[in-house]
């Protein structure tokens, strides 16, 4: 069985100087998963880089929750399209150059 690494949400908030309300809003938008154990809230370690990206978008660019949601959705679409372009280029190279 896989063991999930959990980070206390409070620790993350202190570390990044943010209010817990921000994490709570992210959860409401379905952007992060919060795990509650014995009344304490935790964040899966695997989602920390993504969460830090949300913090940067919010703090450095003043982007609100709706904006973050839209940006993440668009970035995922861009990534999917970029992967598709790479795949298509690789297939195209089969027919190029004789």
């Amino acid at each position: 069985m896989k063991t999930a690494e959990l980070i206390p949400a409070q620790t993350f908030c202190i570390h990044h100087n943010i209010e817990f309300a921000f994490i709570d809003s992210l959860q409401r938008f379905g952007l992060v998963e919060i795990i509650t154990e014995e009344e304490a809230t935790y964040l899966p370690e695997s989602c920390i880089p993504q969460l830090e990206q949300y913090v940067r978008l919010n703090k450095e660019l003043d982007i609100n929750m709706e904006g973050i949601d839209a940006i993440i959705h668009l970035l995922q679409r861009i990534k999917k399209m970029q992967d598709e372009i790479v795949g298509l280029k690789n297939r195209l190279s089969m027919y190029e150059g004789g």
């Binding site: 570390h15 990044h16 100087n17 880089p49 830090e52 990206q53 940067r56 978008l57 703090k59 450095e60 660019l61 003043d62 982007i63 940006i71 970035l75 990534k79 970029q82 992967d83 790479v86 795949g87 280029k89 690789n90 297939r91 190279s93 089969m94």
Partner: protein, 298 residues
């Protein structure tokens, strides 16, 4: 080292107030922020410039110093001392040929004028811990090298990193090396290093995923009468039986003789061989006669 016009970078006049500067910075940051422009080196470089311009122009003290000395920034300290002692000093202006912005967060120009500090270390900086910047790198590999798992040492920002490249890596594939990116700010963790593989193919094979495609020449007689040919594969030479009356363009699949499947040891794609029948040239009189007889028979 060259003078950097921070007003020009932010696109604001020299008389711009704090609000105008903030608005201009926000607008450009939203356009160029690395989180919104992954894998875009140009955008990342421009973002550094915008960040630096904002760091100076949004801080009244730094802006004052910058406005006072402007292009004479190289001699700011000397001017300060001279002013204090009411003395006079004359200096010749040195030449510089650096481009200004490098790979670090701040340019040499900034370091020279403000003492090499980044945001957070002076004035309005906070104690927020930030994860370091993610680095992007490209690694070129020949198709033959990508065929087998091997180790390679990379030098990233002066540090040697030894990585294992699994067999079957694809062109354009990206791998992440955790913690090998830029250092974090205020004690934050380091960023990650993303390596994009560029597979160069100068071989006779064409790759499509895990499958390889090869065009093999076949002489007329083997094509008509059948026989055996030797084919080079990336795993070595193999002998192949050719059926009699094989047509030009016939495709044969050799199962498991293609490219290794990424991170699936012992699994390989297939090798597709397309026969290209070569007609004989410079026929002798006897050969011509025999072909004539053949044509009359059919």
């Amino acid at each position: 080292m060259t003078f950097i016009d921070y007003y020009e970078i932010l696109g604001v006049p020299k008389t711009a107030d704090a609000e105008t500067i903030k608005a201009a910075y926000r607008k450009l940051a939203r356009k160029l922020h690395p989180d919104l422009n992954p894998n875009d080196k140009d955008a990342n470089k421009k973002f550094q410039q915008v960040n630096e311009a904002n760091e100076v122009l949004s801080d009244p003290e730094k802006r004052k110093k910058y406005d006072t000395y402007g292009k004479d920034w190289e001699h700011a300290e000397e001017f300060e001392k001279a002013k204090q002692s009411r003395g006079q000093s004359q200096h010749s202006y040195g030449q510089s040929n650096d481009s200004g912005f490098g790979n670090d967060d701040f340019s040499e120009f900034f370091s020279s004028m403000f003492g090499g500090s980044g945001p957070g270390s002076q004035g309005r900086g906070s104690q927020v811990k930030y994860r370091g910047q993610d680095y992007q790198a490209e690694l070129k590999l020949h198709l033959e090298a990508a065929y087998s798992t091997h180790q390679q040492t990379l030098t990233v920002n002066g540090k040697n990193i030894r990585i294992t490249i699994p067999a079957g890596v694809e062109n354009g594939q990206v791998i992440k090396l955790k913690g090998h990116g830029g250092p974090g700010r205020n004690g934050g963790p380091s960023g990650d290093l993303f390596i994009t593989f560029v597979i160069e193919n100068n071989t006779i094979y064409k790759r499509s995923g895990d499958d390889l495609h090869l065009t093999a020449g076949l002489d007329l007689y083997t094509a008509l009468l059948g026989g055996e040919i030797t084919v080079d594969t990336l795993g070595g030479k193999i002998k192949l039986k050719v059926k009699p009356e094989t047509q030009n363009g016939t495709k044969t699949r050799l199962k498991g003789k293609g490219f290794p499947v990424y991170k699936k040891e012992g699994q390989f794609g297939d090798l597709y061989i397309t026969y290209s029948i070569k007609l004989p040239t410079n026929l002798t009189e006897q050969q011509k006669e025999l072909f004539k007889q053949l044509s009359e028979l059919s």
